[in-house]
């Protein structure tokens, strides 16, 4: 497992993937594009969790699996761990990463910040497309560990972003 790939290549590939799905394959249908991107993330997460749990015993409960995602899985993917984990002990977990690597270079047009609400939500929507892939990865990883769930992301305070995992009862 010692092979490496250039991070710039991965970043460019992810950017191009979102751009292709949003602007070419499903232009004017952002919900469909989002679902396709999330599905790709699901496959990737599924396979990655297989690989990274090779030598480990089964997880005893949901919290252990989530902690695996926060520590080992996140370190393998992003070279750092999740900074903050919150739970309501009723199946909802919030994972907060204070400097999410894949969003560290994204920024918007400063001159439209003072404008009407519309340009801001367009920029927010454009940025949110880049979060579907990591959400899919988390969902795929957890479902491979036997935990079906729904994952959504919240990026109200860049560069920090939170992933909300809701485990299906």
């Amino acid at each position: 497992m010692g092979r490496e790939v250039s991070e710039s290549c991965v970043d460019s590939l992810l950017t191009e993937m979102v751009s292709s799905y949003c602007n070419r394959f499903y232009s004017n249908k952002p919900e469909l594009a989002a679902r396709r991107i999330e599905a790709i993330g699901y496959q990737v997460g599924h396979q990655l969790s297989e690989r990274y749990t090779m030598e480990r015993p089964r997880f005893t409960d949901h919290l252990e699996a989530i902690k695996f995602i926060c520590k080992d899985f996140w370190s393998e993917l992003f070279k750092k761990q999740i900074d903050n984990l919150k739970t309501n002990h009723r199946g909802t977990f919030v994972l907060q990463d204070n400097k999410f690597r894949w969003l560290s270079r994204i920024s918007t047009d400063p001159s439209t910040e003072n404008g009407s609400q519309d340009p801001e939500s367009k920029a927010a929507q454009a940025m949110s497309m880049y979060l579907y892939f990591p959400c899919g990865i988390i969902r795929g990883a957890l479902s491979n560990l036997g935990i079906p769930c729904a994952v959504s992301a919240d990026m109200s305070s860049l560069p920090a972003c939170s992933f909300v995992i809701r485990i299906k009862a």
Partner: protein, 169 residues
């Protein structure tokens, strides 16, 4: 601090802040002469409108580069004018100084031209320009929301550029 985004109408400028900024202004052009960024920190006198100003600057540098290459007494090879080379290779001027300002210039192999105007006692800024090019690569080229060839409107790039320019003596 004014911000010109290329050929569109500029917003009305806020009152000038001269304190804390050591540089006067900065241009970034791409290979085809489109001004991607014009940033101004301290420019009391405007003689031309923005369009003419950018065209004049681009034309001046293009001519200066070919003049300096043609007048090179040490090189027997005519070289390939118009083809961008690595900074330091071939013959290219890198700065000129008048009694009121110093203009520093750098061209990258991809044809990006970075021009920085500072006070006349500034030292050699070649390494600084390389660092600014690095900032450009990190926060503009790798920004998923940026379309190449369009004026740069990236908040992160603007803030990190301002911070860096403030620290150049």
């Amino acid at each position: 601090m004014q911000f010109f985004g290329g050929s569109d109408i500029s917003p009305s400028p806020p009152p000038p802040t001269a304190s804390g900024h050591n540089a006067h202004m900065m241009y970034i052009f791409n290979r085809s002469g489109i001004c991607l960024l014009y940033r101004e920190w301290n420019r009391p006198l405007h003689t031309l409108n923005a369009q003419q100003d950018h065209k004049l600057m681009f034309g001046l540098l293009f001519s200066l580069k070919s003049l300096t290459a043609k007048m090179d007494p040490t090189s027997a090879d005519k070289g390939n004018l118009g083809v961008p080379q690595l900074p330091g290779q071939g013959c290219s001027f890198h700065s000129f100084r008048t009694n009121t300002y110093k203009l520093s210039f750098m061209e990258t192999p991809s044809g990006m031209k970075i021009i920085l105007l500072t006070h006349p006692r500034t030292g050699d800024l070649r390494e600084s320009l390389k660092y600014i090019y690095n900032l450009y690569v990190e926060y503009v080229v790798k920004n998923p929301l940026y379309a190449p060839g369009t004026p740069i409107r990236c908040d992160l790039f603007n803030t990190s550029l301002d911070q860096y320019v403030r620290s150049i003596s």
